[in-house]
Symmetry: C2
Subunit: 289 residues, 2 copies
């Protein structure tokens, strides 16, 4: 089965488990709305690609790790859209979860998806507890405090957050988790795959900064110009648009260089490049594409 | 070391990990405020007591499981206090987390504590992966959807939630997790300990309903009469105060009867009774105490 189909199937089975007959139906509907239809599933695709490059000896665990990372990502989007954060009524061209289900259910759906991430991981790796024991703290660190996704969002509540630490936590942590968890899940050495996740996380943040600063609203799926309005660090505001584009191109090249020798190295290099370019404003990057 | 000192120490070490030098300091402070000073720590006390009753062959894992359950409980209190839920400015006689740090950090602190629960469990049981693989899905189920804590709160967003399912999820799930995880952590059979958790969860919910319905504000640490105002199921509203007191007493007795033959059975019975009575409105229960 293709990687993207494996990811959708794993997410679907997990989301179905939340919709049992005796459970609250609107919570299950809110979770489903948060997960489907998805975006590019960049992080789980990366996780599966690295697992494959490391030998891919246990696809079920790789699927579980990829789904866990995607659930953590989706949870953060739902909470990020809430009125007390970005107050976005739209996500991926559809009503955001709180716009459709109200803030209480959006908050709870995010909470339940954080839990679901770890539950899915545990179910997928029940037959290999030693691998679970390695994956769980790695993925948890990427989501929590002091260096994970929650910490990244929390930097926005500090006056003048350090840009490097803010970006590492807000975007980098989950990319690093994707590559390192992929390596662990596939039977490889996670340390060799840290740099790839780190560089891709940086590239994504710069691409996102560019979108926020300059993209036409029609090209982005969220309202633009928020970073400037909210005083958040933004590479395009710091380096100028041309400087940020240059930085993005060099980060994409650095990500390719960070791929260690492995099975299917050239296909992985193509995937990394394609995924890294997805988010970038297309009219700015036609020379790089 | 006494059980309560073990719990505070385990929580303290985990909370310290969230406060690294390069992490966002206000998030770490919000997490600390949510966890210390704690309430009665009823669930982790129960978890450690059951682990001991089952042989207590690995206290570190029991500590990790107890802390995980307490972090999930604390996270739910922080989110429950938010303006979009109960909008409580006070918790345990102190300002609630959002009253002190704002809603964004309160939301993130809750998220980070859910993650911290699983991270703590993984760190405490790294040396025994098979036990981690059994504990993780059990604790995750008690927190998420469709039957855990998130589901319990989500029932409040449904019109006429089924009272039994609402209570099981909102209060019962974490008590069942406390007894069953305690058994697993201590090397025992979790299935034998489900009934105790279930009965205690029911008793706590009735005690909480009584407090909400009738206690003087000085005896409760949260504003009273919310269930009636918000149309939530409440045993004191359904059975009357005298009926609810009678039901509470019979549930406390049933909890005692649900303790299976074990090491230190009589001490455990005393603990269960003392913990069950803690929450109850004292002037109503002087005959039972």
């Amino acid at each position: 089965m293709e990687a993207s189909a494996r990811i959708e199937q794993t997410l679907e089975l997990a989301v179905q488990r939340t919709a049992a007959e005796n459970g609250p139906p609107r919570l299950a509907a809110a979770i489903r709305h948060a997960v489907f239809p998805g975006g590019a599933r960049v992080r789980p695709m990366l996780c599966l690609a690295v697992a494959e490059a490391c030998g891919g000896d246990d696809p079920a665990i790789a699927d579980g790790a990829a789904a866990a990372i995607e659930f953590l990502h989706c949870a953060s989007l739902v909470h990020d859209d809430l009125p007390c954060f970005d107050d976005s009524a739209v996500r991926r061209g559809q009503p955001s979860v709180h716009a459709l289900f109200g803030a209480p259910l959006a908050l709870l759906a995010g909470d339940a998806m954080i839990v679901l991430a770890f539950e899915s991981l545990s179910i997928a790796s029940a037959h290999r507890p030693a691998r679970l024991a390695a994956l769980l703290p790695l993925i948890a660190r990427s989501a929590g405090a002091p260096y994970g996704l929650c910490a990244g969002q929390a930097w926005e509540s500090e006056t003048s957050p350090p840009p490097e630490q803010y970006r590492c936590a807000k975007t980098g942590a989950l990319f690093v988790a994707a590559t390192m968890a992929g390596a662990l899940a596939g039977g490889g050495d996670p340390a060799r795959w840290r740099a790839l996740g780190y560089r891709l996380g940086e590239a994504y943040q710069v691409a996102d900064d560019l979108l926020d600063a300059v993209a036409a609203a029609s090209e982005s799926d969220k309202p633009v110009g928020r970073d400037a309005a909210l005083g958040r660090p933004n590479a395009a505001l710091e380096l100028g648009v041309a400087g940020a584009v240059e930085r993005l191109q060099s980060l994409i090249a650095a990500a390719g260089d960070a791929i260690p020798p492995c099975r299917g190295e050239s296909a992985l290099r193509d995937l990394v490049r394609a995924q890294a370019l997805r988010l970038a404003p297309k009219h700015l990057l036609h020379h790089a594409a």
